[in-house]
């Protein structure tokens, strides 16, 4: 790191002056906590009693036989409380909020997973909670909106801009610019102004730390390849960060290929040629933007990957060549979900299924001596509406129609 908060030429803190002192305070609290040996213990202990840590490392025996190539393991972040790796970051930041003595938390959410995780943490720690969510996402992720509200959070639909994740981030930043004295902004991924990328990676690194122990115990050596999906980048950095110095371990990030990289309808900032370096939402990284610097609309079947920017740490690791990036299309992802369900009895989230889709392409080409780990960042039952639509399940459609009728007759 050449300059504070920079990873190569990426990162930084491009934030209105009114928030600079708040970031300084956050940095101070974060580094104090990080240097306090009891803090990590407190975090791990809470995650083992409130969430399901350590999450298991599952040997995917049927998939391994099916592909007849590399030995496939799955790191089970889907078994976290609230069903995804998001809980790691949220509980960690919640402990920091307690240290800072703030009483209110705000967050952005795309698919709703980070919103539900934040609302859960706020309920447990007794904080007021407001979640900003693009109006489009509110419409397509109603079950998560329902749970956030039941957990006591106020969900604010964002009607500006493209009305998705990036617009929710802008709105959360506006709230924070106003209420920073009482409020902490629980950013959901390893993006945004310094120290957020570092802080979120720190909390998510629990994934890679556990994996290292587990794979050493099972195999007596490190894995050869690790695959993770990449939206903002927090689950990928969580599983990668512990292995950055272990050069023999290949690290693969898989972005949302949407309708295909040629179609222009995707969210592949690092694996397509469309990403261009820019500055927005507080940090410098590769963005999907036009030649004038206006952000483009992105597309993915997985709302959690449908984002214009990507962690500055990952942009750096792409340039340094340490992490290799790929894209998986919507169709490949649906096929991967089907195969994971049938072969292993596991329902991956559409986001996580991007990592599966690309790993499945590679597995048959690899020798049986190769150990491959896929990060299953979240469970897929939340995606029942999207997956049922993608599969075109007629019985499900009929069920929804009948259900709607019962409301009409009331």
């Amino acid at each position: 790191m050449n300059k504070e908060g920079y990873y190569g030429r990426f990162g930084g803190a491009f934030i209105p002056e009114i928030l600079m002192s708040t970031l300084v305070q956050l940095k101070k609290e974060f580094y104090a906590a990080k240097n306090d040996p009891t803090f990590w213990q407190e975090y791990v202990s809470l995650m083992s009693s409130y969430s399901c840590r350590p999450t298991p490392l599952t040997f995917a025996e049927n998939l391994t036989q099916h592909f007849d190539g590399a030995k496939i393991y799955i790191k089970r972040e889907d078994l976290n409380h609230t069903g995804a790796h998001k809980a790691n970051n949220v509980i960690g930041q919640g402990l920091l909020v307690k240290r800072m003595g703030k009483k209110r938390v705000i967050a952005e959410t795309g698919a709703g997973q980070h919103g539900v995780a934040t609302a859960t943490m706020a309920a447990k720690f007794g904080f007021d909670c407001t979640i900003y969510m693009g109006e489009v996402d509110v419409e397509r992720q109603r079950p998560n909106v329902f749970w956030m509200e039941q957990l006591g959070a106020t969900v604010v639909p964002v009607k500006d801009g493209t009305r998705i994740l990036k617009d929710a981030i802008n709105e959360a930043l506006r709230d924070w610019s106003t209420n920073m004295d009482s409020t902490h902004y629980v950013l959901g991924t390893a993006c945004g102004a310094h120290p957020f990328p570092e802080m979120v990676t720190y909390f998510q690194s629990i994934i890679g730390k556990e994996l290292k122990n587990q794979v050493l115990e099972k195999e007596g050596r490190l894995p050869d390849q690790i695959y993770a999906c990449v939206g903002g980048g927090s689950n990928a950095l969580g599983i990668f960060s512990e292995f950055l110095e272990d050069k023999q371990v290949e690290l693969h990030g898989v972005e949302a290929g949407g309708k295909g990289l040629e179609s222009g309808r995707h969210a592949s900032r690092l694996s397509s040629r469309d990403g261009k370096i820019g500055v927005a939402q507080g940090y410098k990284t590769f963005f999907l933007q036009n030649e004038e610097g206006q952000m483009k609309e992105t597309h993915s079947v997985a709302a959690g990957l449908d984002y214009v920017g990507v962690s500055p740490i990952l942009s750096y690791l792409k340039e340094s060549g340490r992490v290799i990036f790929h894209a998986a299309t919507d169709n490949e992802v649906i096929e991967a979900v089907k195969l994971a369900m049938r072969k292993e009895g596991i329902i991956p989230a559409l986001e996580s299924a991007h990592a599966f889709a690309y790993a499945f392409k590679q597995a048959p080409k690899l020798s049986k001596a190769i150990i491959l780990v896929i990060n299953l960042s979240g469970r897929g039952d939340k995606d029942i509406f999207t997956i049922a639509d993608a599969l075109g399940d007629e019985d499900w459609k009929q069920f929804i129609k009948d259900k709607a009728k019962t409301y009409e007759s009331h």
Binding site: G12, A13, F14, I15, P16, E17, I18, L19, M20, S21, T22, D160, G161, K166, N170, L173, R174, S177, T178, N179, M180, D181, K276, I277, G278, V279, A280, Q281, G282, K284, Q289, E291, E292, G293, Q294, M295
Partner: protein, 254 residues
């Protein structure tokens, strides 16, 4: 005459200068020109032209919407430079660009500063670029004779205000409250203390912006700072009542 000299000279005859804001290309460039003409006629002393950006994090709903509608209408940076060129040639008051850093970054910071200078702009306001991140920008402003107008806020500690004072030029834009553009500001003892702190940090002129919309706000600021800035309120008046309402509104501040 540079921006600071202009402000100091104007201040000899006028207690409080008036800076007005508009979003380029909203509702369209022709209307922008008509609005600017009215502003000049009504005695506005400085005008900031905002180049629209898709992620305007420091702006509230009114200006945010104007940014989006302008971009939907196809506004390009070149159109904003053309507007700058036309109005800065036509009128003798200084014009500034306000925009977000990515617009400069993508065009090339030097290129953007050269173009702005060539179009007759006097300075730049970039609300998402703290001075620590703005080394190239500050150098390029200096090389091109543009004033980089930096923000001082109620949350900036004295040490930071001093650093901002060293890095900025032209005048300083004081943000007297937390939050984004458009919401009303209640001036208080805290405001007075804050403005005193800004005054101590620099000898350059001070402007106060964010949430100013009434004659009383001007009265409060008189004798405390050099410039009052109105942004969102102008847009709201225009959207509600068109050009004639805007003329009447601006008249109140003469």
């Amino acid at each position: 005459m540079n921006l600071t000299e202009y402000i100091k000279e104007k201040r000899i005859k006028k207690d409080l200068l008036f800076m007005a804001h508009l979003v380029c290309g909203f509702p369209d460039f022709q209307t922008n020109k008509e609005i600017i003409q009215i502003m000049v006629e009504m005695g506005v002393d400085i005008i900031e032209l905002q180049i629209p950006f898709s992620e305007p994090i420091a702006d509230g709903p009114t200006i945010l919407k104007a940014n989006q509608l302008s971009l939907m209408g196809g506004t390009k940076v070149k159109d904003c430079l053309d507007l700058m060129k036309e109005v800065s040639t036509q009128y003798s008051i200084p014009f500034l660009f306000m925009t977000y850093y990515n617009i400069l970054f993508c065009r090339g910071i030097d290129i953007f500063c050269q173009e702005t200078k060539k179009a007759g702009g006097k300075g730049l306001i970039i609300p998402d670029l703290p001075h620590e991140e703005g080394e190239d920008y500050l150098k390029s402003c200096q090389a091109n004779g543009l004033s980089p107008i930096l923000l001082m806020t109620v949350n900036s500690p004295p040490e930071r205000l001093r650093k901002i004072a060293e890095a900025g030029n032209g005048f300083f834009y004081c943000v007297a409250r937390r939050g984004v553009t458009g919401r009303k500001t209640q001036f208080s003892e805290e405001t007075i203390t804050f403005l005193k702190r800004c005054r101590q940090a620099t000898e350059l002129p001070l402007a106060v912006g964010l949430g100013i919309s009434r004659r009383e706000d001007f009265a409060f600021l008189q004798g405390k700072v050099d410039i009052a800035v109105i942004g969102s309120a102008i847009l709201r008046v225009f959207e509600k009542g068109g050009l004639s309402a805007l003329r009447n509104f601006l008249k109140e501040f003469q």
